[in-house]
């Protein structure tokens, strides 16, 4: 049985270190390899993993993850299979696994049914980039997730104004995901210049732990996040690392946390 996101964040804090969150697209390159990758990530000591449900039109994702989504769908991966895989994985590891995806997947499944199925599968939270807080009065997704004690991770961007930071702080649960730059997911060689000021501003208004993602790819990036954030999110950078090299890469990255 896996820990909750908040429990894992407490451990990170007690160990006075940075957390590392990684990401997989379920079914890319295959459901079987997804399973092996998640197990390898957990064994390498990462603190949590985002399990992305593939979707045809992933608005917030750059070319690498978009391609992975499309390949998984072309191979016939279904939401049901993703939930089954998630259930096997949450039983096998003790770190929290979260579901990341797009809102139409949930809407089409039925919001309540999806939250229940995720809870049954041992999922510990959701990140849904195209379901902003402002649509909640029409959707009741956050409310249903809260009833199941599952946090919906809020996203913040460098464009988020202060009043919106305040609003998000009121409703956020577990942690807040800070998108590091303008644009979509994808590995970059350097971190954006404004990152320090941006994260300090967010810190002023947001009390929960901060995860930082979009473009984090090297041990150097992770070092740079010490003292600024609580969790580093590594997504696209690991997507096409072979299973054989994954453990080594993760060990190098985790050594800097």
């Amino acid at each position: 049985m896996s820990r909750t996101i908040s429990e894992q964040l407490t451990i990170i804090k007690q160990q006075h270190r940075l957390g590392v969150m990684t990401h997989v697209v379920m079914g890319y390159p295959s459901l079987h390899e997804t399973k092996q990758r998640v197990l390898a990530m957990a064994a390498a000591g990462v603190d949590s993993i985002e399990l992305q449900i593939p979707f045809s039109d992933p608005l917030a994702d750059g070319p690498a993850i978009t391609k992975a989504n499309q390949q998984a769908l072309a191979a016939g991966v279904t939401v049901q299979q993703c939930l089954q895989l998630a259930e096997q994985l949450t039983r096998a590891v003790d770190i929290p696994l979260q579901c990341i995806g797009y809102y139409n997947t949930i809407h089409h499944f039925g919001v309540q049914q999806f939250v229940q199925a995720s809870q049954a599968a041992g999922i510990q939270g959701f990140t849904i980039p195209d379901m902003p807080l402002t649509e909640e009065p029409y959707e009741h997704f956050y409310a249903l997730a809260a009833q199941a004690n599952l946090p919906v991770i809020q996203l913040i961007s460098p464009a988020t104004p202060i009043e919106r930071l305040r609003l998000i702080n009121q409703h956020a649960q577990a942690m807040v995901y800070c998108v590091s730059r303008f644009g979509v997911t994808g590995a970059h060689t350097t971190l954006p210049d404004h990152l320090i000021t941006y994260l300090r501003t967010v810190r002023q208004y947001v009390t929960l732990p901060l995860a930082v993602g979009f473009g984090i790819s090297t041990p150097k990036h992770i070092r740079a996040l010490h003292g600024l954030a609580d969790v580093a999110v590594i997504g696209s950078a690991l997507l096409n690392v072979s299973l054989e090299n994954l453990t080594q890469q993760l060990t190098n990255l985790c050594a800097e946390r």
Binding site: F55, D57, T78, V79, F109, D130, P132, Y138, R164, V179
Partner: protein, 409 residues
């Protein structure tokens, strides 16, 4: 004339709430990154509408640059040949750049200018909206990036060349089905990378709020003019019995319908693309066919063609502008409320209608508009001669000559 004209910005009983929800449809389902940009846009648009100098500039550009009003033409030979209701054509193909798209491009480019933006981003399917955007970018001295699916780049080569001559960068999209839906995603992502300096000039009455409302408002000039022009033919106080327009995203149709929405005696008909086979997945783009399914994709809630897991399904239409799996949220609402009716016409019927109109009236419609003509050709003979139908010729067909030549041979 202008004093008697209905105002460009007006409200009907089908307006959305303050967050852009038409009943359950519409909204702003976008990543946090775009929320501030959309809020800025909504505010700027509200202010602009209330600013008489902005409204006057829109009218001035419509008249002297676009060439408005576009004519409402009585298609006498076509009417006679069909032997039923009178058919009138609202000829948006005579606008500068050859289609209705220029209407919302002018309005939005003026807004972009007001906001101090230096670059326009657009997506395009048939290329008409891309050409119109590249045109206003040139006119107002703005940079321009047009996103276009690789499949559409191939089938609409003349428009690609045209956009490039106007100074626009055409960015070819190789993701997904390489058509309009992928161009929309790519354009939205481009905007996410530069939300402060650039303006996303969306090309249909869809996407996140405020686009569906804003595009509709700038297109409403079509229906406003029809209301006036129709009375010149049929007498003071008369209104058409039927309005017929093709519906991809739905901008030309909502532009024709809007001024008549509150007048229930006017029947509204949107024509979707039946493609090669309206009953087979991937062969058509009839979102409102058998069992329309609500979804949330590309920033708005509406009816989408989707599979069992909510993924967008592939579509097909001979006309690139109708080859899209979603439909503007106000159309979804009008459909649900029963205010408008939606029908489908196949590729073959559209091509036949294209030739029929060319032969009887010497007017070559865009393949998109030919869908509306095709339905009018079916409808007219079933009605008595005192009934009237206004068909929106949303664009002219020059861009389709090469596709047609291939199809006909």
């Amino acid at each position: 004339m202008k004093s008697s004209m209905k105002k460009l910005f007006f409200k009907t009983q089908y307006e959305p709430d303050e967050h852009g929800h038409f009943g359950e449809f519409g909204g702003q389902y976008v990543p946090e990154l775009l929320i501030p940009a959309l809020e800025e846009l909504t505010q700027a648009y509200e202010q602009a509408k209330a600013d008489p100098s902005f409204v006057a500039t829109v009218h001035e550009v419509f008249k002297n640059y676009v060439g408005r009003p576009s004519p409402l033409y009585f298609a006498e030979r076509l009417t006679k040949q069909l032997g039923g209701a009178k058919i009138f054509l609202k000829n948006e193909g005579l606008n500068h750049t050859g289609a209705h798209k220029i209407n919302h491009c002018v309005g939005q480019a003026l807004l972009a200018q007001r906001l101090g933006k230096t670059r326009l981003i657009a997506e395009t399917g048939a290329g008409q909206h891309g050409v119109a955007t590249a045109t206003v970018a040139a006119k107002f001295g703005l940079h321009c990036t047009v996103h276009m699916g690789a499949v559409d780049v191939q089938r609409q080569a003349p428009n690609v060349f045209w956009m490039q001559q106007l100074g626009a960068e055409v960015r070819v999209v190789h993701d997904g089905s390489q058509t309009l839906k992928d161009a929309v995603t790519s354009a939205l992502q481009d905007w996410m990378t530069d939300p402060i300096g650039s303006y996303y000039l969306l090309g249909s009455a869809l996407g996140p709020h405020p686009y569906p409302v804003m595009v509709r408002d700038f297109q409403s000039i079509i229906g406003i003019e029809v209301a006036e022009q129709f009375q010149a033919y049929e007498g003071q106080g008369s209104v058409p019995d039927y309005l017929v327009a093709c519906v991809g995203g739905g901008s030309n149709a909502i532009g024709l319908f809007n001024a008549f929405l509150d007048d229930k005696q006017v029947k509204l008909i949107g024509v979707e693309a039946g493609g090669r086979n309206p009953n087979q997945v991937g062969e058509h783009a009839t979102r409102l066919g058998r069992q329309p399914q609500v979804g949330v994709i590309e920033g708005y809630k509406s009816f989408f063609l989707q599979d069992d897991d909510g993924n967008l399904q592939p579509t097909h239409s001979v006309s690139a502008g109708l080859d899209y799996p979603g439909i503007g949220p106000e159309h979804a609402y009008l459909y649900q409320q029963g205010r408008a009716q939606y029908v489908a016409v196949t590729d073959v019927q559209a091509v036949q209608a294209f030739r029929a109109l060319a032969n009887t009236e010497g007017i070559v419609p865009a393949l998109e508009s030919a869908h509306a003509v095709a339905y009018a050709i079916q409808l007219a003979p079933t009605l008595p001669p005192k009934k009237t139908i206004v068909v929106n010729i949303s664009g002219r067909g020059d861009k389709d000559y090469f596709i047609l030549r291939e199809l006909i041979h």
